[in-house]
């Protein structure tokens, strides 16, 4: 997690050519827009530069010569230029924004796709909020760079170039005088950049803290309220919020200094023009018109310079965001499919674990040297104390995680040789941690899979006894389900998640504490219903209530990551080992009751 935290502090270089090159690959499909934008930019940039030239002509030629018609003509030309500029500008903005948004769309979908492929190890260590930020805010912040950023920078640079071209054309010595200020401007910008970068990192860091705090506490708000911690939490929140504010205020300072400095430099340029140009005019080396044109150019020149430093900010943000995005895209915590996977057309359901070792964190083995086999159509049960490794055992069967040592085979084929899609198609799991999506009951059972018919959905719901409460809901199967199923009772949620597994009609069914929150009557009904379903299918059942598993063909007893005992209920009782003791414990009270 600490490692993840740093992600949000990634500052990268302000301009990293490697990242830029990679970003530009996303522009490739839109090459024609870029070309178009650049052409329009040259036009848009050139046109304003023409205006002072025209005003010079107006002043020196027509007004000086009292030629009103000439003045009218030149005004019409200015108007035409203006309208042309407006039209081009409109399309420029539209198309560059279009391109930017398209690229953002492409990138967003790509990131989302990538995340879908990532292994659970990634999700274990990464707060959801951070990944969400990547596909939302981070990508969005690239838009500005692609749409206004790159194009605008082009246009600003063009404007500056054009302005110089015109200025040099009119009076090269005066243009050189104007250039005198440049070194100071460059220096000021460099200092500004350095400072802003530092504060930007702080801002990012505190913002990330703020977001993950809010995200987590919104999710767990009921705990905050149950423990009446609102006041403490508000203090904690205010502290984080305050740090964010402080970082922002600090960065305001540098902007506050930088912009007046740019203004000052621009005023100095004015002064220089008047001082030098004024002398020239008095000596009649220069016309007044030229001087006025120079004023306009100077004014025009500083605008893009100011813009460029604002754009610098956009660039910096984009660089930081894209570095985080690329880091995610380069994260290859995948469970890879084999190069030449074995196709599985049909599955019998024979499973074998051979000397399996598994660890979530390197070296900390959660499963140690586990071996067993399940014949097709068998039902096996896994029991053991909490934390013994039962869930882990089935997590590796569907390749949520890959094992360290040993092998797991399905129908004699190593599961790493199979495609994950096949593997998971044949195996359905009722997960211990129930998760419902917002949508309705139906979409929660079929998960958007149209191949599962309504009849199948209802059938599955009936099998697990969920149909009873669903049919009482105002909209039945169309009843809205809120985020995480919040408006259903915990047991009801579990039933829906159970129905989901049945609706997928799997060859192999895995139940991890699938009825732990369900009442006994419903549980018994499910067991009976499922008995029929399970004929010819392989199933693995994890349960703490021993009563639910006694029919199993084989019972595995896990203890601290090791498979300690294996056999039928009777065999294990006869062994008088761990299972026997568990069994004794669970039923001794009832024993007493019965003998009374």
């Amino acid at each position: 997690m600490a490692e993840q935290q740093k992600d949000d502090e990634i500052l990268g270089k302000a301009y990293d050519s490697k990242i830029m090159r990679r970003l530009l690959t996303y522009v490739k499909p839109y090459k024609k827009y870029v070309v178009m934008a650049i052409i329009m930019n040259i036009i848009v940039a050139a046109l304003p530069a023409v205006r002072p030239l025209l005003s010079k002509i107006a002043l020196d030629t027509y007004i000086a010569n009292k030629d009103y018609n000439g003045l009218l003509m030149i005004s019409m030309i200015v108007l035409a230029v203006l309208i042309l500029q407006a039209v081009v500008q409109y399309y420029l903005t539209y198309y560059s924004e279009y391109m930017g948004q398209k690229i953002v769309y492409d990138l967003r979908v790509q990131i989302f796709k990538h995340v879908q492929k990532l292994a659970l190890r990634y999700f274990d260590k990464t707060p959801v909020g951070r990944t969400v930020t990547r596909v939302t805010n981070d990508v969005d912040s690239l838009n500005e760079m692609f749409s206004s950023g790159i194009v605008q920078v082009f246009s600003d640079v063009f404007v500056i170039i054009w302005i110089y071209v015109f200025m040099f054309g009119m009076a090269w010595d005066l243009a050189l005088v104007v250039l005198l200020v440049m070194p100071f401007l460059i220096y000021a910008t460099m200092v500004f950049r350095k400072k802003v970068r530092e504060t930007y990192r702080d801002v990012r860091k505190h913002l990330a803290n703020l977001n993950s705090y809010m995200q987590e506490h919104v999710t767990g708000m009921n705990i905050v309220q149950i423990f009446a911690k609102e006041k403490d939490e508000l203090e904690k929140f205010s502290a984080i919020n305050g740090e964010y504010r402080a970082a922002n205020i600090k960065s305001v300072f540098y902007y506050a200094v930088f912009f007046p400095v740019v203004e000052l430099l621009s005023a100095i340029t004015f002064g220089l023009i008047i001082w030098y140009g004024g002398g020239e005019v008095i000596q009649s080396k220069l016309t007044l018109g030229v001087l006025i044109a120079f004023f306009q150019y100077t004014e025009m020149f500083w605008r893009p310079v100011r813009d460029l430093s604002e754009k610098y900010n956009v660039l910096q943000q984009a660089m930081a965001s894209s570095e985080r995005i690329f880091k995610l895209l380069d994260d290859e915590t995948f469970i890879p499919d084999a190069e030449n996977p074995v196709k599985l057309e049909k599955v019998k359901g024979e499973i074998e674990f051979k000397n399996v070792w598994f660890a979530y964190n390197p070296g900390e083995y959660v499963l140690k040297n586990v071996s067993f086999d399940i014949k097709p159509g068998e039902t096996i049960a896994i029991v053991g104390a909490t934390g013994a490794g039962k869930t882990s055992l089935i997590n590796i069967l569907t390749r949520f995680y890959d094992i360290e040592k040993g092998s797991i085979t399905l129908d004699g084929i190593d599961i790493r040789q199979l495609e994950k899609r096949d593997l998971r198609k044949y195996i359905s799991m009722v997960l211990q941690d129930v998760f419902l999506f917002s949508g309705n009951i139906k979409t929660n059972i079929n998960l958007g899979n149209d191949e599962i018919t309504d009849a199948q959905i209802i059938e599955a719901a009936k099998t697990v006894g969920a149909d009873k409460f669903i049919s009482k809901l105002p909209n039945k199967y169309e009843e809205e389900v809120k985020e995480k199923g919040a408006t259903l009772s915990v047991g009801q949620r579990q039933l829906i998640s159970f129905a989901r597994a049945l609706a997928y009609n799997p060859q192999i069914l895995i139940l991890d504490e699938a009825t732990s929150s369900v009442d006994t009557e419903t549980e018994i009904l499910i067991q009976e219903a499922i008995q029929k379903l399970l004929v010819g299918r392989t199933s693995i059942v994890i349960a703490h209530r021993l009563s639910t598993i006694q029919n199993a063909n084989k019972i595995l007893v896990m203890h601290k990551g090791e498979l300690k005992e294996m056999g039928t209920h009777q065999e294990l009782l006869a062994k008088k080992g761990i299972y026997y003791r568990l069994y004794q414990l669970q039923y001794k009270d009832q024993e007493v009751v019965r003998t009374v």
Binding site: I63, L72, A86, Y91, I226, I268, L291, N449
Partner: protein
């Protein structure tokens, strides 16, 4: 739709921002200072063209360079003067905007902390988050840059205009001709921006929510191999977002060109009219130059006027969204009947004709339920899935309020007990576990301010978590994954139990708290809990007879009513639902015996 908008008065376009008044008032001193700085800095700014004009008029006379040099230096000095104040402007106004952002976010948080569970069920996390981030952000842009630029530009505009008038009234009036057209245009476009922007924000919320849900439920998606479907869905939403963005862009792209066309028109007018006036000797070239300079000073404010208008619209739309949340009622709050004298609770509980339903169109969950629990008793609730057990116990710490009848603790209606006192005296272990991504130790002492290691050891021993912790390389300092994801199901449940025990509650409520715990461990926990529960009122919900059978009293809930109550033996003898449950659990075991 648009017509209706257009007919509305101006307030409709930024009426929601009025709600920011109290924040502005809080910083009125600094803001006033900021406005003064704006005026001062603009005085400097508008003085510069006057200096230029002076230099020009001098130039035309072609006398000496003295005044010219003097003016050149003055220009630099004036700019330094203006610059100082423009620095101060940012240091006041923009800094205030950050403070207001802080205040607003703090108020937002304080507010949602008090909102009832119902609110969090109806609004997804992603949605709430996008309010707290994007919407507050866009309001901040209004408070800072928008206010700064509009005041700045407004002042500049007025000052420039008065100077222009003083230079030449006629020329100025001509220059102003395009202005009304601009206002009309702004008005027309603004109202459309508002609604399009709102649509974008809504989609963005959806993008966030969808991603959020997908990543949280990734295990389910992976195990049913629904990745491709999810990708399709997400692409679809992304595409809609794209479309809505482009809808706004189509409008926004107008702003820039239109404003500079209008500014440009003014420019042309100056040349035509001014030129003519010079020809007729009504105007000097210096004045014309000053006009041109002033006008180019005005072009940017005019263009940025469009930009500001656009930001204000977005801010207003965001403020509207925020106000919707700010207007959510607390539902569960203290009122004038709250008895603040109450500092402690004893722990007897009574339900008097309590009825409860979640919503008017949903069926009744509890129907006229009455019962009494003496202080220090241990009682249990059993009943079928979805019968209303969790709903019932949630009424005690007022996670919900009863819709009929009253819930009493120590004979006092819970609605009259200060919420803080009520909740700190109740240790509720919710059926659904939630742990923070903090250390295990911090999670356990969450409910108390000063948690010692001794206390942690004590409660983890009761919850039988100590043996698990021993196997963790970092022990109690282990940092948990989000929602405790790196713990096993049983470990999560027992951590959540330990957390409730740590607050030393008068009333302990366990909502199916052993469902993920194996029977052996459960037995051990129950044994230790018995000692802990002495002198405390305890409520246990469970589906297992073994968990509830030792309770002083067992209540069976069915169809919204309490249908049976008594001790284990009494209920078994009674032959109702409980006895049936008992037989079934016995039967299961007997069946296996016979195998």
């Amino acid at each position: 739709m648009l017509d209706r908008k257009r007919k509305g008065n101006g307030l409709e376009l930024f009426g929601n921002l009025v709600h920011l008044k109290k924040y502005f008032l809080r910083y009125k001193g600094t803001l006033a200072l900021g406005f003064i700085f704006i005026i001062l800095s603009n005085i400097g700014n508008v003085y510069i063209p006057l200096l230029v004009k002076g230099a020009f008029d001098e130039l035309q006379k072609k006398l000496s360079t003295d005044i010219i040099v003097k003016n050149a230096i003055l220009i630099a000095l004036t700019s330094a003067f203006a610059g100082l104040f423009s620095f101060l402007i940012r240091q006041t106004i923009i800094v205030v905007s950050r403070k207001i952002e802080y205040d607003l976010r703090k108020d937002f948080w304080e507010h949602i902390q008090k909102l009832p569970m119902r609110f969090f069920q109806n609004n997804s996390t992603g949605n709430i988050m996008s309010h707290a981030t994007n919407d507050i952000n866009s309001v901040r842009s209004f408070v800072g840059p928008s206010v700064m630029y509009s005041v700045d530009n407004g002042v500049l505009f007025i000052m420039t205009l008065s100077i222009l008038f003083s230079l030449s009234t006629k020329l100025t009036l001509y220059t102003l001709i395009p202005l009304p057209f601009m206002s009309l245009f702004v008005y027309l476009v603004m109202s459309k921006i508002h609604s399009r922007y709102t649509k974008i924000q809504e989609k963005f919320s959806e993008l966030t929510t969808r991603a959020q849900e997908n990543f949280s439920g990734i295990r389910v998606i992976k195990s049913y191999f629904r990745e491709n479907y999810e990708i399709d869905q997400y692409s679809k939403i992304s595409d809609e977002y794209f479309q809505r963005k482009m809808n706004l862009v189509k409008l926004q792209a107008f702003f820039h060109p239109i404003f500079f066309v209008i500014a440009g028109l003014a420019f042309i007018i100056i040349f035509l009219v001014g030129g003519n006036m010079i020809i007729n000797n009504e105007l000097t070239v210096g004045t014309l130059t000053a006009f041109i300079l002033y006008l180019s000073m005005l072009i940017w404010p005019m263009i940025s006027f469009g930009w500001v208008a656009n930001m204000i619209q977005q801010a207003d739309a965001s403020m509207k969204r925020l106000m919707k949340i700010f207007n959510e009622p607390y539902e569960i709050s203290e009122n004038e009947n709250t008895n603040h004298v109450i500092k402690d609770l004893q722990g007897s509980i009574e339900f008097k004709n309590v009825s409860f339903r979640y919503k008017d169109d949903l069926p009744v969950v509890l129907d006229n339920v009455s019962f009494k629990i003496e202080q220090g008793q241990t009682i249990a609730f059993v009943g079928h899935t979805g019968v209303g057990k969790s709903s019932l116990i949630n009424l005690i710490p007022r996670m919900y309020d009863a819709t009929g009848g009253e819930v009493l603790i120590d004979g006092i209606n819970v609605k009259n007990i200060p919420i803080g006192i009520l909740r700190t005296n109740i240790g509720l272990v919710p059926q659904e576990n939630f742990l923070f991504s903090d250390t295990l130790a911090n999670n356990i002492v969450y409910g108390i301010t000063d948690g010692s290691q001794i206390l942690i050891d004590k409660v983890t021993e009761i919850a039988q978590l100590n043996k698990d912790v021993e196997t963790f390389p970092n022990g109690f300092e282990t940092i948990l994954g989000e929602r405790g994801i790196t713990l096993s199901g049983g470990q999560k449940q027992r951590s959540s139990l330990a957390r409730a025990l740590a607050i030393d509650p008068k009333i302990l409520i366990l909502d199916d708290s052993f469902s993920a715990v194996d029977t052996h461990t459960e037995e051990e926990i129950l044994k230790r809990l018995k000692e802990f529960m002495k002198n405390r009122t305890s409520i246990i919900i469970s589906h297992r007879i073994s968990t509830v059978k030792d309770s002083d009293k067992i209540f069976v809930i069915d169809k919204g009513k309490i249908t049976e109550q008594g001790t284990h033996d009494e209920l078994v003898a009674f032959g109702g639902i409980y006895a049936d449950l008992h037989t079934k659990q016995l039967l299961e075991e007997e069946l296996s015996e016979m195998e």
